[in-house]
């Protein structure tokens, strides 16, 4: 374009648009995939290379063998990975407060990847638990504990837990919940129970409101990730395999599971 200054100004003064003289193409946007066909930027590569080496040195360290892997479970399957995490939380909480902790609960949504079968590395635990969430011990009554379990079932079909067995019977319109201790003994609704959970759930995350009412919170200063790393380290050093816990903590009939997913289930 070789316009003189005044000819540029004139259409603008007249309220005419240059674009009106040349047709405007139709509205559109595109996705540009960032793939291997694009060369690496040397300036950025120079910054990342030493950091990547540092990450690799730490995160490639071997931890423990998990010959079967530990998995969150597909539709209708129990979250055995979650059970292992809850067991480890309960164990670490007992160590932290030096007293029995009979129940632990975490949120399935916080477990970000499965542990695939084979040699586990530090990086695998970071991928599973990237968050800096902390282990917290609170006090609930037995009745509140049962309420916590029921809220987890109603919302997500049961959040991973340790120390209890939960059974749902009845119909999607009216479910009946039975919760006992893991050995089958009855939970005294009036008893005070120490409960291990995360600061995230205790703070009201993932909608288990009764957990928020927990009393005498003890913040352990241990992140969930660290206690899992520790647990793997102990097994690895003892030359033991990491195996998934046995299923059977939640038993929920399929029609009720489906009703929960469709948000149509009621106790």
């Amino acid at each position: 374009m070789n316009l003189k200054p005044f000819s540029l100004l004139l259409p603008a003064l007249l309220g005419l648009s240059l674009a009106a003289q040349t047709p405007v193409p139709p509205a559109k946007g595109v996705v540009l995939p960032v793939n291997a066909a694009i060369p690496e930027d040397p300036e950025i590569q120079k910054v990342i290379a030493p950091l990547a080496a540092e990450i690799k040195a730490t995160f490639d360290l071997p931890l423990v063998k998990a010959p079967q892997g530990l998995f969150r479970g597909r539709r209708g399957e129990e979250n055995l990975l979650g059970y292992w995490v809850a067991d480890a939380m309960r164990l670490a909480a007992q160590g932290a407060i030096n007293a029995p902790v009979r129940f632990a609960i975490t949120n399935a949504g916080g477990l970000r990847s499965n542990l695939r079968a084979g040699q586990l590395k530090v990086a695998d635990i970071f991928e599973l638990m990237p968050f800096e969430n902390e282990l917290v011990v609170v006090e609930l009554t037995g009745a509140e504990l049962i309420q916590v379990v029921s809220e987890g079932i109603a919302r997500r079909g049961g959040e991973p837990c340790s120390g209890i067995i939960a059974r749902v019977e009845g119909s999607p319109e009216k479910g009946i919940l039975t919760v006992t201790w893991a050995d089958g003994s009855l939970i005294d609704p009036k008893a005070t129970v120490k409960v291990a959970t995360s600061d995230y759930l205790y703070g009201g995350g993932d909608s288990i409101p009764t957990l928020k009412t927990g009393r005498k919170p003890f913040t352990t200063g241990i992140t969930l990730r660290q206690l899992l790393l520790d647990q793997c380290g102990v097994l690895g050093k003892a030359n033991q395999d990491l195996l998934p816990p046995a299923p059977g903590r939640y038993s929920i009939p399929v029609p009720i599971q489906e009703a929960i997913r469709d948000k149509k289930f009621k106790f």
């Binding site: 200054p5 996705v31 793939n35």
Partner: protein, 311 residues
């Protein structure tokens, strides 16, 4: 044409009279082109996704993203590089470098602005501020980028308040672009202690005065929103698809939070024309590109808003 635009055009003409060779390059105010390049939910994915990640295996990586951005900037000239939040959390890089690396790399790549996602609060407000400080203190030719948000009240978090602006105006040859940002509610996503001193407000109500200010006071030609609300929440919470119906006058929404892989922007009608709503998955797998040609006069009057086009 308002007086300000007229004066700007006149100034350009006067300068051009003295330097006739540059005359053709001097644009008419309110007429120009701009390309928006954007990411969302990059989640500390510094390296490409490894094998075993399904359709996104082998995709992403900041070294490639940087090259792509450089190439496009060279080709296109007027470019804004933007991000819709959740820069933090997802790989050991975040655990080790606490987001400092992510923000520094964004500055090195030439990001102009970003917004805050819920995961950017994962380590709390203190470490978020530290990551921003590390980005600001980096010795680099590119300017530090701005964080934009207009629906978080930062009153109780002054160190962060200093670093987050409700909006920003960027000037390009021939046009002014207004940028702003909105974030998702904290409830159930960010623990109370991690957003201490910061209160969430309704994004629709927070946006209305900002968009009005950008249009009427700042006289921008294009309004772009960085949103970490999510693409479609089916009416359970504010989202990108329903936002244009509630707040008119936004030309483009660069979305995030829901990790939605859109193949092209969704055109949502609104009172002043239409809004292009876009989101490009997560993890830096894609770079989004939207091209806008803005033309004052007949075209602009007909649509009542800037007219988006692909170059």
């Amino acid at each position: 044409m308002d007086r300000r635009t007229f004066l700007a055009a006149l100034g350009a003409t006067a300068a051009a009279t003295q330097l006739p060779l540059q005359a053709a390059a001097e644009p008419v105010q309110g007429s120009g082109r701009i390309t928006l390049l954007h990411t969302n939910d990059t989640h500390s994915r510094i390296e490409p996704f490894g094998p075993g990640n399904g359709a996104i295996s082998g995709l992403g990586g900041v070294t490639r993203r940087a090259t792509l951005i450089k190439q496009l900037r060279q080709q296109l000239g007027s470019v804004l590089l933007l991000d819709a939040g959740d820069t933090f959390q997802g790989t050991p890089y975040f655990n080790r470098y606490k987001g400092r690396l992510d923000y520094q790399l964004m500055r090195m790549m030439g990001y102009d602005a970003g917004t805050l996602g819920n995961h950017d609060f994962d380590n709390g407000v203190g470490p978020l501020v530290e990551a921003l400080e590390a980005m600001e203190q980096l010795q680099h030719a590119n300017a530090p980028f701005a964080l934009l948000n207009c629906n978080y009240d930062f009153k109780g978090a002054p160190a962060l308040a200093k670093r987050v602006r409700p909006y920003q105006v960027k000037t390009f040859p021939g046009l002014r672009v207004g940028l702003t940002g909105v974030g998702v509610a904290f409830a159930g996503l960010v623990s109370d202690k991690n957003h201490e001193g910061i209160t969430w407000r309704d994004p629709y109500e927070s946006l209305k005065p900002v968009v009005k200010h950008l249009r009427e006071v700042e006289k921008v030609d294009l309004v772009v929103l960085l949103s970490h609300l999510g693409y479609n929440l089916n009416g359970t919470a504010p989202d990108d698809l329903r936002l244009p119906g509630a707040v008119a006058g936004i030309d483009a929404i660069i979305g995030g939070h829901s990790h939605t892989f859109l193949e092209a922007p969704t055109k949502v009608p609104q009172a002043q024309g239409e809004t292009l709503v876009f989101q490009v998955g997560f993890g830096g797998v894609n770079l989004g590109r939207m091209d806008f040609a803005v033309a004052k006069g007949t075209v602009r009057a007909a649509s009542g808003s800037a007219l988006p086009v692909l170059a």
